[in-house]
Symmetry: C2
Subunit: 200 residues, 2 copies
């Protein structure tokens, strides 16, 4: 029950940082949430900033493992309907996975203060999603599912509205259901505009 305290500190820090920000978080409260006393924290991390850096290391590594590597790319959909449902699955995961939600919030709160947070924020909110959809759209164009166009532009036009709705859910969780419905409506609109006619 010793080694995982270090891990539990990191998770508690993610939780508090995501709610109150780095400056708004204090070590006493962080320790108390783990039924520790504040000096206990310092057996595992030498300072508050060290916790922050370890957390960012973790977030960067996690991003690389789960979103940055080629093998974790979702498969190219086989139909437009498949594409819509793949989108919905992804959105549901990213909106409901507490760890990911907290990560986005932390990056949002600290992006102007910390350069690494800033870079990771851009990946999370813009470039990562766009790159992923660029590959998917390239594949879909080859399959003849959507009309040939600049896949990167399409990916940007697809990813950013979805990203905006994810942010909305982070900000106002009570609007989650509406936002999810809006993602689906947008996705269907998108395939109607760009989809290659496969009329029955």
């Amino acid at each position: 029950m010793a080694k995982d305290t270090k891990e539990r500190i990191l998770m508690a820090a993610l939780d508090m940082f995501s709610k109150k920000g780095y400056e708004g978080t204090n070590i006493r409260e962080l320790a108390a949430s783990l039924e520790l006393v504040k000096s206990g924290i310092y057996k595992h991390y030498e300072s508050k900033e060290a916790i922050w850096n370890a957390l960012l290391d973790r977030m960067i590594a996690y991003y690389g493992e789960h979103f940055g590597s080629a093998e974790h790319l979702p498969p190219v959909p086989d139909s437009l309907e498949d594409f819509v449902s793949m989108t919905m699955r992804m959105v549901n995961i990213t909106i409901h996975d507490e760890q990911i939600v907290k990560t986005r919030k932390v990056l949002t709160l600290e992006q102007y203060r910390d350069e690494r947070a800033r870079d990771l924020a851009t990946k999370h909110f813009l470039t990562g999603l766009t790159e992923m959809f660029t590959r998917i759209f390239s594949g879909m164009m080859e399959k003849g599912l959507i009309r040939r166009d600049d896949p990167e532009m399409l990916a940007f036009a697809y990813a950013t509205p979805i990203s905006a709705l994810i942010h909305l859910c982070d900000r106002e969780p009570e609007k989650t259901a509406d936002a999810i419905a809006q993602v689906e409506a947008f996705s269907r609109h998108f395939v109607k505009v760009y989809g290659e006619a496969e009329k029955d």
Copy 2:
């Protein structure tokens, strides 16, 4: 030279809050930036929180005056080219106006802590822009500039990518030139997709 100290405090607070957040801002530094001593602040505002609330009042009022009212709506463009250049004008203003940039940053940093900031953030980042473009697209459909479709969906699909690039400029100002170019490319892509053929 007395009355405007209260105003200068508000502007200095906007500046510091946008850079360090509410918790990260301290009264001493705020006063020093105005060549005041910290206790001087308290002649004008009874507490740090009072400054925050006054600033939010100001931001909400400003938004209502400049973006919320019908008379400040940009005119419906006369051509697709006109639409693109109107977009570019708006984006350039919103990206380069320091006050607006700082306002967005403050809302970004405090959206999870303060309910009013949260509501205003949603307006700034999502619903406000979407509503504006909904009216513009409705007008453009009536003029036959773009094909008839759900104007709200088009507005959402147009506003959110632009909003994403505005956020990118706030986060990484050194990418501003690229982001502006991307806005223009996206705008031209958009009118190509939705524009009613006006071939020569």
